[in-house]
Amino acid sequence: MYIFKNALISIWRNKGRNILIGVIILVITIASTVSLSILNASNKLISSYEEKNEIIGSITMNRESLMQNFDPNDREQGKENLKEQFSNIEEITVDNIKNYADSNYVKSYYYIESLGLNSSNIEKATSESINDRKGPMMENQESQAAFTLTGYSSIESMKEFIEGSYKITEGEISTDFTSNNCIINKELATLNDLSVGDKIVLVNPNNTLLTYEFTITGIFEDNSDVNAPSMDMFSNSVNNIITNTTALEKIYNDDTTLRNQITPTFILKNKAAISKFEKELQDKGLSEYLTLTTNLNQVESSIESISNVKTFAITFLVITLIIGSIVLFVINMINIRERKYEIGVLRTIGMKKSLVATKFVIELLIVSLASLILGTISGSLISVPTANKLLENEINSSKQNIDEINKNFGGNMMDKPDIPKDFNIEDNNFKKGTIQKIDKINAVVDIKVILELLIIGIVLTLISSLAAVITIQRFSPLTILKERG
């Protein structure tokens, strides 16, 4: 106890020296607080982002693999080979999807099916058949079909509604995923004078005797291509009739010669699961001409700016700590040399070396603690604007990059249909199923940061105290006092 009391007296009566040490620790603490809080916020944002923006995988054509057998010296034969390979690719069935989804790497899954059908009581919206869902396997879809019947396996699979490109204007989407319910485009409804509760009859284009009655539960508006330059008078989804996969499969089971286009989507557990799931798909017999495609690049590019800030924070922290430790060590070394006389007196009157060292360490700890508290408060106050300023620079740089890419393509690439249209740097709210850029860090000094600071403070104090401990161990009290004499 007396050691503590004397340490306090010593600090108070040697203010100049201790203020100097305190200011150095204060600067180190502020810099460390800012770095740690940015690091903490970055980590939280990245993990929260990765949680909200799931890794989504779908099975697509492996064009690279297909082109391997294309002989550029014999183009005609090459085309024939490609056609043959293409026709030999086995179509993915619902059973395949269920088998693939039965995996430790898959969190959930859904799928969309589509069939080309005609109708006996409604007209299609244009003279030409427009099928808006042209996936990689759509080329052979029945050309004579007027409508596309799209079946969703779950609410989760209805991405267009989740993202807002389709919006119900009348009625609702039925939660009954087994009955013959459907929702239709507003334009189609207007053209055919249809409303909620009306029934439409769909007809198998191969066999007009096979007819199916669907009840309209809702009417939707398609906003997906409002920005796209188009001369079409109708939206792409005008002849798209939306139902559930159970209803669609009943039609398909009646005539399996109909081309059933299935698009599976697998929600993977994490990034690491991608390669493992890919391997598992191959083991389960996925054709070599099909491959797993994910949104990993989109997810990673969206966190690029925050990752840059994180790297900067780590580098800044390491440099601060190294320089801070060296400066503190040197100052303490000088400080101890100045206080050799005090060490000599204390040792002469019988204070043990360990207690003398403890007294010096306690003095430094008290000064460090006071500086840590002040530094943490100041650091937390300036960490938010500093972090946001850093990120602002990153975002501006990212914007410039996008502009450059757009120029390279000779237009605004962001309007291309395969680029997310909801790229909005002013809005940092995450929307389910969409990829968004991060534009703001709310740097926080939480218990984790305080604990890290405390550890840093103790380590710094111990490092700089080493000077005192080594000196005390080395010096003989008599030598010190003789030198003074």
Partner: protein, 227 residues
């Protein structure tokens, strides 16, 4: 009663030649209730002998016994903060503390149980002729004589058997020197302490009970006066 016994004590510096001793074969016993002066020319080993007795150094050969206990086998830090009080020519007080705080710190280090340490420190200061006001002053605001009295009070704070003083009056005028010597004599004769003073001063030597001469040539000790 013998409190301190030197038996064939010799000392040489660590970097000195094997037979190059500063002190050699010192034999002597110090008793309680007496005031000793150790005299000798510069380089005769007076201060070295003092540092050996006070446990600041260990002898290169021979043994020193305190109360029949070999100093080589006891905790010297404990010995210094309990059994022996050391007073230096340059006082060796802590300048950032006041006189009372210097004395209390010494009591704290020794672990002595005193009900009111501040009151006891003031009493000790009064015993050596200082007031409470002196005690509350920073060390550097006291005169040399006052500082030496504080050093004596500090050395008495844990009531040791032996008081060792290295040139305690070297920085003081004659009048103050006489006052300090009287304090030491009082400690020996009235408080039954063993007081050992290293000095060049003949004035001091005349006033103590026993004078020991350290001879530079044969590095031994010789008793020159005894009352």
């Amino acid at each position: 009663m013998d409190i301190l016994k030197l038996e064939n004590v010799g000392y040489r510096y660590k970097d000195a030649n094997l037979n190059d001793y500063v002190l050699s074969d010192i034999n002597y016993s110090f008793s309680l209730g007496k005031c000793y002066a150790i005299k000798g020319k510069s380089g005769s080993g007076k201060s070295t002998l003092l540092s050996l007795i006070s446990g600041l150094e260990r002898p290169s050969k021979g043994k020193i016994y305190y109360n029949n206990k070999d100093l080589g086998k006891i905790d010297l830090d404990k010995f210094r903060n309990t059994n022996i009080g050391i007073i230096f020519q340059s006082f060796n007080l802590l300048p950032h503390l006041n006189a009372i705080e210097n004395i209390i710190l010494s009591m704290d280090i020794s672990g002595i149980k005193v009900k009111n340490k501040k009151e006891y420190a003031i009493k000790l200061l009064k015993d050596v002729g200082l007031t409470k006001d002196h005690g509350e002053r920073r060390i550097l605001r006291l005169s040399g004589g006052e500082q030496q009295r504080v050093a004596i009070a500090r050395s008495l704070s844990y009531n040791p058997d032996i008081i060792i003083a290295d040139e305690p009056t070297g920085n003081l005028d004659e009048e103050t020197e006489n006052e300090i010597i009287e304090i030491f004599k009082d400690l020996a004769h009235n408080q039954n302490k063993c007081v050992i003073i290293v000095t060049h001063s003949n004035n001091v030597a005349h006033k103590v009970d026993v004078v020991l001469e350290l001879e530079k040539e044969n590095k031994s000790i010789k008793k020159s006066k005894r009352i």
